[in-house]
């Protein structure tokens, strides 16, 4: 075969792109088509709806603001600390905390701060984890590490020449912050605020487990309750539309402003950064220690319960099936997600190499499902498929498929930089060498292997941790590990929840270890 993969596969990638777009279109079709005539507009003036909307916005805004405000001093402290094994471990822990299945964190927080939590006696009689406080703690725990890592990477990117100039001009600490550090990371700060707001706005598992009733519920959970408990599809649809409009608009606004890089390796450490004063050093070390404590505390809180759990063989038997189901779902979703993302990026790459303006919207089309909350997609497909499919029978496959679809943007975000790099360096060379499609694929895949592994670990973890899609399509015939943990935690069987969480954490830890090993100089 004389033609290269690019010219021979003129339509390569379009079926994958079409599939991703069709799934969203079908979900919208489901939302628009169902019960159109009975759509109840008065619902939007209902005090219950307004209370849910107000609380959703409040918790998302507070979570985003607190995560970013607290991340700044932590990132500054990290940037001044010398490179070391424990610092690298801390940055790896930041990745783990952000992508860790939410139910593990929730179990840890309940073990620490719940009704019989280890720290609860210190917090007074009025302390109640459930409600806004619990939601905020969990959201900060999950998003602060993401913000720290992002800001740290930005601070590391300040060139040595700037530090040299700052020293030569004898900048004060405040001037260094204003002229260099804030200048390098202020755009990331606004982006982080937007991103974390969207993540927390769409939060499901945290609010479901720690919300504590109708006073502290969000749109995402209200959709689930309307659909699963009340089977009020009209209400679920109305809520889904509001969820889509707000989360989608916020996401589009943020994505037009730029992208946050947090998984990329750090650049070379600055050699000419002015040394911290003794007082600053003390403050940075204290902050660093607090950071370790904050991130490890909920995970360590699982340990005593694990040690003293005294579970029997029956427990392990009940755990093994959900674990296998979760791993199986993770594998199927990951293979689907990576294959779709890899293929769906083909038209974008081709357009980019031809410097076609279509590249912009092809890129957007590949990642568009980020703007569609998982719950909205699930509800849309649920109401569309309900009359045609036995959802109890096909549920497991739908959970795997929708997780695969919803994680396509995450897989694409990991694959895209490496693919674009490959194209910019080797596209002309591949054409000039007249490589066959097979040769080109072999060379490209061996080049892409580390990026594919990173994407697979990342996507696998997200898919395995899913609770939102499972809550719509799942049933008792195939309980996943996160849902099992939720079941234990919500019935105060914390020993079992902790043990199951620890097993799950072990699986995730192995994946993160694998993910971080792929970066030659991981941050």
């Amino acid at each position: 075969m004389k033609l290269s993969a690019f010219t021979s596969g003129k339509w390569a990638g379009w079926p994958a792109l079409g599939l991703v777009a069709t799934a969203t279109a079908l979900a919208f079709g489901g939302l628009i088509g169902f019960n159109r005539s009975e759509f109840d507009w008065s619902y939007f003036s209902d005090p219950y709806f307004l209370a849910i909307l107000r609380f959703t916005l409040l918790q998302a805004t507070l979570s985003a603001a607190l995560s970013v405000v607290l991340a700044w001093p932590m990132a500054l402290a990290l940037s001044y600390l010398k490179d070391s094994t424990h610092k690298r471990a801390f940055l790896s822990l930041c990745v783990l905390c952000f992508v860790m299945p939410t139910l593990i964190v929730i179990t840890g927080i309940i073990s620490l701060l719940g009704r019989s939590g280890s720290l609860s006696p210190l917090l007074g009689d009025d302390w109640n984890l459930y409600g806004l406080s619990g939601i905020l703690i969990a959201h900060i725990y999950l998003n602060l590490p993401f913000a720290v890592r992002t800001l740290y990477l930005r601070l590391q990117s300040i060139p040595d020449a700037s530090w040299r100039l700052a020293r030569q001009l004898k900048f004060t600490r405040a001037q260094r912050f204003r002229r260099l550090e804030w200048a390098a990371a202020h755009s990331a700060t606004w982006l982080l605020l937007g991103f974390i707001f969207v993540i927390c706005f769409n939060s499901f598992a945290v609010v479901l487990a720690l919300g504590g009733g109708p006073k502290a519920t969000t749109l995402e959970v209200a959709i689930y309750q309307a659909l699963k408990y009340d089977f009020n599809i009209s209400e679920a649809l109305a809520l889904a539309w509001v969820q889509l409009l707000i989360a989608g608009s916020a996401f589009l606004l943020v994505s037009f402003c730029g992208k946050v890089s947090w998984l990329s390796p750090a650049s070379a450490p600055a050699q000419l950064r002015p040394p911290a004063t003794r007082l600053e050093q003390l403050a940075y070390r204290l902050l660093y220690a607090c950071g370790w404590l904050f991130l490890l505390a909920p995970l360590l809180a699982l340990t005593p319960r694990v040690i003293h759990s005294g579970v029997d063989m029956e427990f392990w038997r009940s755990l093994s099936r959900p674990l296998l189901i979760t791993l199986g779902l993770g594998v199927v979703s990951t293979v689907l997600s990576i294959s779709l993302a890899y293929s769906a990026l083909r038209p974008y790459r081709r357009a980019r190499m031809q410097q076609s303006p279509a590249a912009l919207w092809l890129d957007w089309l590949t990642s568009h499902s980020l703007a569609v909350p998982a719950m909205v997609l699930s509800v849309g497909l649920f109401v569309l498929l309900l009359p045609h499919l036995d959802l109890d029978h096909w549920g497991i496959w739908l959970v795997a498929a929708i997780n695969g679809l919803i994680t396509v943007p995450f897989a694409a975000s990991q694959l895209k930089p490496a693919l674009l790099n490959f194209d910019s360096q080797y596209h002309r060379l591949s054409l000039s060498l007249k490589l066959t499609s097979r040769e080109r694929r072999r060379i490209e895949w061996s080049y892409m292997a580390p990026a594919i592994r990173t994407a697979a670990a990342f996507v696998g973890m997200l898919a395995m941790g899913d609770v939102a899609i499972y809550s719509i399509f799942g049933n008792q015939d195939f309980v996943t590990l996160p849902w099992l943990i939720y079941g234990y935690a919500s019935t105060y069987r914390l020993d079992e929840a902790s043990l199951a969480s620890m097993v799950f954490l072990g699986v995730c830890g192995l994946l993160i270890f694998y993910l971080e090993k792929q970066s030659p100089r991981h941050a």
């Binding site: 004389k2 290269s4 002309r428 060379l429 054409l431 000039s432 007249k434």
Partner: protein, 205 residues
């Protein structure tokens, strides 16, 4: 014969004009100040640059609209000639006929890079990388060879060795060769003829 007639290429606001004939087996050195359009001409012959107007043919076969992978051209770029994740040997085998692959060790010896074949390109110096890429380009089956500053990273002795080797290989396999160079010694050692592009914009070729 390579024939280039009234070729026009747009580069930003500029339009470059080329008229050129090169006989089969001829070795041409393209010279001229930076930015005059030497590399652009090679890229146009290889098919990587869109043509505004004009005609390009090889042995009476019209190449004007032929895609790069169907042109009888082997090109050495200024950079990115080797896949960084493949060994040098794996790189050298790409695009080279199976029968010709047995030549690789001997020719690598002649160019002084025989010890580097099992390494990844990142472990090689700039000069070693350049010689590895040159070796592959010259062993490829295409009759028309385009070299864009092929000796720029080489010291004086290695440069002499590489230019003489290139001339020997071009003559042995009957290649037609166009080379961009800034060094007049490359012209005297290797080229049959030098073409000076003084102002391609006004069509002075």
């Amino acid at each position: 014969m390579l024939e280039i007639r009234a070729l026009q290429i747009k580069r930003g606001a500029r339009t470059l004009h080329y008229d050129l004939q090169v006989a089969q087996g001829e070795i041409i050195a393209l010279q001229g100040v930076s930015g005059v359009g030497k590399s652009t001409l090679l890229e146009a012959i290889a098919g990587f640059v869109a043509l505004e107007a004009g005609h390009l043919s090889w042995e009476d076969r019209d190449l004007t609209h032929t895609p790069p992978e169907q042109r009888p051209v082997a090109m050495l770029f200024q950079d990115y000639n080797l896949f960084e994740h493949l060994t040098v040997m794996a790189n050298l085998k790409l695009g080279v006929d199976v029968a010709m692959q047995s030549e690789i060790p001997n020719q690598a010896q002649a160019l002084g890079i025989a010890d580097q074949l099992d390494k990844l390109p990142g472990r090689l110096s700039g000069g070693q990388r350049q010689r590895a890429a040159l070796l592959r380009t010259m062993l490829r089956p295409e009759p028309l060879i385009l070299l864009d500053e092929p000796f720029s990273e080489l010291d004086a002795d290695t440069r002499r060795l590489a230019t003489e080797w290139t001339r020997t290989m071009a003559e042995r396999f009957g290649k037609t060769l166009l080379m961009v160079t800034h060094q007049s010694e490359d012209v005297s050692r290797l080229a049959h003829r030098a073409i000076h592009l003084d102002n391609a914009e006004t069509g002075a070729v």
